[in-house]
């Protein structure tokens, strides 16, 4: 195992610092805007939900690039690869779960659910 390089690349360092500060600013901006909009009932319910989702996505994108520095590494791009894999898994699980749970809701009543769950434990 070799030691970490002791010399720090100062240019790169500065670049990162500025990106962290921008990221920090943007994060606060997105969070507070969403909060204020909801607190003040600035629009109708559906519009608000849509807006909050949009802000969340902006938040996600800005953090991925400004904090995690996606795509800014040299080849081989392991970070990017792993990030893509993570996105794939998250999409499968989130949409898969939504699909499964909606399908259940459509078919089962609460008493049926309870009966099913109890049968699972052989009670």
């Amino acid at each position: 195992m070799s030691k970490l390089p002791l010399t720090i690349n100062h240019d790169e360092n500065k670049l990162k610092l500025s990106s962290y500060i921008t990221g920090f600013g943007l994060s606060i901006l997105f969070t507070i805007s969403a909060y204020l909009l909801v607190i003040n009932h600035a629009a109708s319910r559906t519009v608000l939900i849509g807006l909050v989702i949009v802000f969340a996505i902006c938040q996600f994108i800005s953090q991925s690039f400004l904090f995690l520095h996606l795509g800014q590494e040299n080849k081989p791009r392991w970070r990017l690869t792993i990030f893509a894999f993570m996105l794939g898994v998250v999409i499968i699980i989130v949409f898969g779960s939504l699909w499964i749970m909606h399908n259940l809701k459509y078919r089962m009543t609460i008493p049926q659910e309870i009966r099913y769950m109890k049968s699972q434990d052989n009670l």
Binding site: K3, M117, K118
Partner: protein, 672 residues
């Protein structure tokens, strides 16, 4: 007022929590007595300091691996005793007889059995073997983050202690190894059993997650010169696949357990029937982790078999590229099949059909791997040593179990077989026949490298035959019982069911397995005594192919005096038989150039961090708030202290490396 203070200091603890049931008390005596005996022995031999310096604080992946394996083996004995108890109960509790334990004890026993076997036996062996051999196979001196590795081990250890502590203070979960609500909710389960389950898994699970990250980085960043990804040993590929699953699946478990813990402690309603909760979400989430988990366990075992088969067939692994593709197909598909664990929950036929088909598809890459191993043996010069026996046993049992799995992947069939003993037989064939046999095979294969001597072959064969006969006797009847309608987790049934004879056969099977375990212990002890005769004098007892066999046994603590350079898949084989693989050499032929080696210093912080995490867990189980806070602060402060520490490495100067290396090679007669 008094009770308020008592509440503050000891939470829900009270003297009534001490068990009185004779079987439990017997278990406690063994579990407390054994460590006490060992402690007395250490004191007598004045070995505490040695233990602390050489083992407990070590950063050496090989030693951490050995500690994992020791813990896992002890847990195998514990989980095995639970299994024996289940079998005895089911063989005797029929008709008017009610067996040897009460049904509430029985529930704790099967819950503890499943939890311990998956999290502390299978996971323990897996991380142990990876630690032992992965860095060496990659031509590296250590894992990427040695300190994190030590923290992972100690968290695993802390979780293990918590599970076993539940036997002594309080009780264990009675809700099975996955603790489905509503049974696991506060309303139906006000005791501490579920909390023990939650917090021990939570602590051990964080450790697993960190190990996953550690091994991924090790594989991606710590390969030696010339080892491109496509030249990695198949074991490394398998570990990479398995650890990717760990990193993406374990967070789901962590979150699910955390939500359940919130339900139980602060009264949220994530999984309750009222208050807008949905207990089926729990089932959904736990299996979104649970199915990847079974492949987390089996992929490293596949990797071990790949190495074993090609070494003992003295032939290159058949279909390397297709093996790699199969691994990644399994990794991806693992995330698309979880619903097959709850086909009967009430989803529509579209959903069931989709997940049923995905489940059948995942059997394809698994089958590809099996055929590749068989083709590797074809026309090979096979030597039937111990590791190979376990491989052959695996092929038979895993195939039977896999076919049972594909049967249950058909939803209408699963409606019949779900939660029956048929299912129990399926997954035991996969996890015992696949995972455990794989780890046994790997241990027999690699232990000479660690210990410096081979294990006695004859006793190993006896152990194998006892295991395989006992195993088939214990689990084939369960397929039949399942089809006769016996459900899992029964503590009593009627004579008229006609199940009794088969349960007795299964019980006898477990006795034979126990004989197998006894032979395994005997094998280790006997080999230890006759180790001079079994000494590995060459460093390459099996005529191996990969880098670990190019260094002396037992391995020097720095693994490689000079880091190797490779330019083929089986570099050590290529060096030994240049005619077969012309032009491929392991290192340069010139005079070796020794360089300074940097290695991590020992540290007790790993132990400390996990110790605090354990206190946190214990406090959370018993609602001792000050302990929870103290534990949490302890963890955070220890991490901060450790991260600000600068000189964490030490250097072995080139001169010293040269001296050590020559000495090792002289002892071993290994050519440089």
């Amino acid at each position: 007022m008094i009770s308020y203070f008592a509440n503050f200091w000891i939470g829900k603890l009270s003297i009534h929590q001490v068990p009185t049931n004779p079987i439990t008390v017997g278990g406690i005596i063994i579990m407390v007595g054994l460590p006490l005996l060992i402690a007395a022995f250490l004191t007598y031999k004045k070995k505490w300091r040695w233990l602390y310096r050489e083992w407990l604080t070590t950063m050496d992946a090989k030693k951490i691996g050995i500690m994992y394996i020791i813990v896992a083996f002890l847990m195998l004995l514990r989980g095995g005793s639970d299994a024996a108890l289940i079998r005895v109960q089911q063989a005797t509790s029929v008709g008017s007889s009610h067996g040897i334990i009460s049904s509430s004890t029985f529930q704790q026993v099967f819950s503890a059995h499943g939890t311990i076997m998956i999290f502390f036996v299978a996971m323990g062996f897996m991380f142990g073997i990876i630690n032992l051999i992965l860095p060496v196979m990659l031509g590296s001196r250590d894992v990427a983050f040695p300190f994190m590795n030590s923290v992972s081990f100690w968290l695993f250890f802390g979780g293990m202690i918590l599970v076993n502590l539940s036997l002594i203070i309080g009780q264990f979960s009675n809700a099975g190894w996955l603790a489905y609500p509503p049974l696991s909710e506060l309303r139906y389960n006000p005791g501490v059993g579920i909390d023990y389950w939650i917090w021990s898994l939570q602590i051990a699970g964080i450790g697993s997650l960190m190990s996953g990250i550690n091994f991924i980085v090790t594989i991606l960043k710590h390969r030696c010169q010339g080892m491109t990804l496509m030249r990695m040993p198949m074991f490394a590929w398998s570990v990479l696949g398995s650890m990717s699953l760990v990193v993406f699946a374990f967070p789901i478990l962590t979150v699910t357990l955390a939500l359940l813990a919130l339900d139980r402690t602060i009264g949220t309603h994530f999984f309750t029937a009222g208050g807008g909760g949905n207990m089926m979400m729990y089932v959904n989430l736990i299996w979104a982790w649970g199915h990847p988990e079974v492949y987390i366990l089996v992929l490293p075992a596949f990797g071990i078999f790949s190495e074993v088969v090609s070494t003992f067939s003295q032939k290159r692994l058949f279909g390397y590229t297709s093996m790699v593709l199969a691994i990644w197909a399994i990794v991806l598909l693992s995330f698309t099949v979880w619903l097959h664990h709850f086909f009967t929950m009430g989803a529509g036929s579209n959903v069931n059909a989709f997940f049923g088909i995905m489940t059948m598809i995942i059997a394809v890459p698994t089958g590809v791997k099996l055929f590749n191993w068989i083709f590797t043996m074809y026309q090979g010069r096979i030597r039937l040593k111990n590791p190979m026996y376990w491989f052959l046993g695996f092929v038979v049992i895993f195939t039977i179990g896999g076919m049972a799995g594909v049967l249950m992947a058909i939803p209408p069939v699963d409606f019949q077989l779900h939660n029956s003993l048929f299912l129990v037989a399926h997954f035991h064939m996969m996890i015992v026949g696949g995972v455990l046999f794989g780890f046994f095979s790997g241990l027999l294969y690699w232990l000479p490298k660690i210990l410096g001597f081979r294990l006695n072959e004859r006793l190993g064969r006896y152990a194998f035959w006892c295991w395989i006969v006992g195993f088939l006797m214990a689990f084939v009847p369960l397929y039949i019982l399942g089809m006769m309608g016996a459900t899992r987790r029964l503590d009593h049934y009627q004579t008229s069911t006609g199940w009794h004879p088969l349960f007795v056969v299964a019980g006898i099977g477990v006795i034979i397995i126990a004989a197998g375990v006894a032979f395994q212990i005997l094998q280790i002890i006997y080999s230890l005594i006759t180790r001079h005769k079994l000494k590995d004098t060459t460093g390459d007892p099996w005529n191996g192919r990969t880098l670990e066999w190019s260094i002396p046994s037992p391995m020097p603590f720095y693994n490689f005096a000079i880091l190797p350079t490779v330019n083929s898949r089986d570099p050590w084989w290529a060096k030994k038989y240049p005619k077969e693989e012309p032009g491929l050499q392991i290192t340069n032929k010139e005079q070796p150039i020794y360089q300074d080696i940097v290695l991590p210093k020992n540290s007790s912080m790993g132990m400390l961090i996990a110790g605090f995490a354990f206190l946190f867990g214990f406090g959370a189980v018993w609602h001792i708030i000050w302990l929870v806070i103290a534990g949490l602060i302890g963890v955070i402060v220890s991490i901060i202290i450790r991260s600000t520490k600068e000189d964490t490495d030490y250097i072995i100067p080139a001169k010293e490396v040269e001296r050590l290396d020559k000495q090792y090679r002289l002892e071993q007669g290994v050519q440089s």
